[in-house]
Amino acid sequence: MAGLCREAIDRALADAGLDWPDIDAVVLGKAPDLFEGVMMPELMLADAIGATGKPLLRVHTAGSVGGSTGIVAASLVQAGVHDRVLAVAFEKQSESNAMWALSIPIPFQMPVGAGAGGYFAPHVRSYIRRSRAPAHIGAIVAAKDRRNGARNPYAHLKQADITVEKVQASRMLWDPIRYDETCPSSDGACAVVISAAPTSGPAAWIHATAMRTEPTTFAGRDQVNARAGAEAAQALWRDAGITDPLHQVDVAEIYVPFSWFEPMWLENLGFTPAGDGWRLTEAGETDIGGRLPVNPSGGVLSSNPIGASGLLRFAEAALQVRGRAGDHQVDGARTALGHAYGGGSQFFSLWLVGADKPGGAA
């Protein structure tokens, strides 16, 4: 754990041209402590993550936690509390079996007993029924994200030769989600430096952030197109001055642990009207080079260190507008979305970053 985090932090500090004394505070995010079997691991990691003697805040908002970590770190700077904050998020899934973490039997509560895939598969089926999407959309997303992952040196899965047909031939796990349409269980960490003033190299300016939460279950809840996600997106677009997301956003890193969540989130985020997200995917518009490249990094489908996955989305969005995404760089990316969700599609965190300072050129 210490090594995973430190490797990411050292690279982030080098990228920013900063050293430890420049960091005022550390924010650490990860998903449930039971995944690694250490209670509040930030306590025992304090030396390794450079927090000793400094403020250290531990965030945990389920799968959206990586995004929330970035937002809390940003708010410390935006509120004028600190000048430079280090955000770190990690998960070491090889220590346990996280797929089943949602399904621990709890006294006095109905057990889910389905694992994460079994929990979300009915939502996907419901989406397909509502939107009348063709059956191969999920496979298109999976093949695209895995091909993108092959361009990303940090991706867990690199499958440059994968095709839609190969995805469709893979084993069915939770109808309609096949093996190749599912995220891997990854070890990984992500570190981001958030600063009140530019450091070395190009910056990704934070134009807006948003977080929204709703309970897992209540009568009338729309689990396919969650209201909390839609309201988070509306707040983000409003605060960033975005009136037409599909035209004004150049690239999106969206939390897609199961392939079908790409079209579902495109609709929830307001990139397309409800029921039309799959059309963008089917037309190839979410490929690198399309109208709205989605997950050029390979996304969660290529790497899922759960606690870090949200911050990875935020960081990949920042890399794009900084022009530092290497082989998965989207040409001319000036405005990028980072998105994370967690729990039973109930926790949402978003940020919008730009190559230009909000309200004007850099």
Partner: protein, 344 residues
């Protein structure tokens, strides 16, 4: 600079077990009391932030179901820390400073009695070198107490006097009891308790509307020390000292300290440079019942209550996380918002 104050506080702590099945049952009564006290509804809260631990609940994502205590619709702006809820208050304070919202509700909860917490807390230690030895929380605290005694920093009698002040017992009588973990006796160790805490924060004029005497936060800061027990001077808590210096704790009248063991009050008195006249934990602090993850936030609420009731003009609250006072937060509050220490 945004002026931010504590305007409401509700707390429950029940040694042994409360019988509550989960966080929702612990929290709903507190939320209802706060709504009634302040004349507000759920819709008046701009930001929610909580602190809790999955290891108390013995399950992953335990904070998720607690959201049921807030209600279904509409979605809320919300965050959670896996730490004592005093750190959730810190996150809410940051949010209020940004000016995004003007009211926040912070809560912490936990069923400390559901498992053998004294032993479970060993899982906070380094998983490769320390945790496999299973040093339980009380055994570690005993090592800390022993080091202080041998260094001549405190005595078992002074520890008993801390407990006597809380429990109104006679220190001499307490010293006749046998050890739980030498040199700790039962009175030195706060019993784990089920409980929850909720605090409402508000900014500027909103705070004045909601409360006659808001407890204005003049400084709040937190720091952490090394996890390496062998590398620390365990009789000290430098992170408490630096947090207090950053928060600014001049001329406080009352200090509410989060001290799971009696000798830790003696450590903190020195680190926080508390003058002899400062009243420490006048209602007994956590020695009467330690509702983990709610207790640090409760210290802030209790300290604020001294101001809101008019009993004091300047107070200090302290909260801790981790083994042996590893991580510490200090919050200074005043009856006047202009009385401010250093900003961070």
């Amino acid at each position: 600079m945004t002026e931010i104050a504590v305007v409401g506080f509700a707390h429950s702590v029940e040694p042994k077990t409360s019988g509550a099945t989960n966080g929702v049952e612990l929290l709903v009564p507190l939320f209802q009391r706060l709504y009634a006290d302040l004349g507000i509804t759920k819709g008046d809260i701009g930001f929610w932030c909580s602190g809790s631990s999955d290891y108390l609940a013995g399950r992953a994502f335990s904070f998720i179901s607690a959201i049921d205590a807030i209600g279904a619709c509409p979605p809320i702006m919300e965050s959670h820390v896996e730490a004592d809820a005093a750190w959730a208050l810190y996150e809410a304070w940051v949010k209020l400073r940004m000016g995004e919202v003007d009211t926040a509700l912070v809560y912490g909860f936990g069923k400390s009695t559901a498992g053998e917490l004294r032993r479970v807390l060993a899982m906070q230690l380094d998983p490769y070198t320390t945790a496999p030895l299973w040093p339980d929380a009380t055994a570690l605290a005993a090592l800390q107490a022993r080091l202080g005694i041998e260094a001549g920093l405190w005595t078992e009698k002074e520890m008993a006097e801390v407990a006597a002040r809380s429990t109104r017992a006679e220190a001499a009588a307490l010293l006749e009891a046998s050890y739980v973990a030498d040199p700790l006796r039962e009175h030195d160790c706060a019993p784990y308790a089920d409980g929850a805490t909720a605090v409402v924060l508000a900014a500027g004029d909103r705070a004045r509307e909601l409360c006659d005497r808001p407890a204005w936060i003049t400084g709040i800061a937190h720091r952490i020390d090394s996890p390496s027990l062998g590398a620390r001077d365990l009789t000290r808590a430098p992170s408490a000292r630096t947090a207090a210096e950053a928060a600014g704790t001049d001329s406080v009248e009352v200090a509410e300290l989060h001290t799971p063991y009696t000798h830790q009050e003696l450590v903190l008195r020195r680190e926080l440079d508390l003058a002899d006249g400062v009243r420490v934990n006048p209602a007994g602090g956590v020695l009467g019942g330690h509702a983990m993850f709610a207790a640090g936030l409760a210290r802030i609420g209790e300290a604020a209550r001294h101001i809101m009731s008019g009993a004091a003009d300047r107070v200090l609250a302290h909260a801790t996380n981790g083994p042996l006072l590893q991580q510490n937060l200090v919050c200074a509050m005043s009856a006047s918002p202009s009385r401010s220490g250093p900003a961070r």
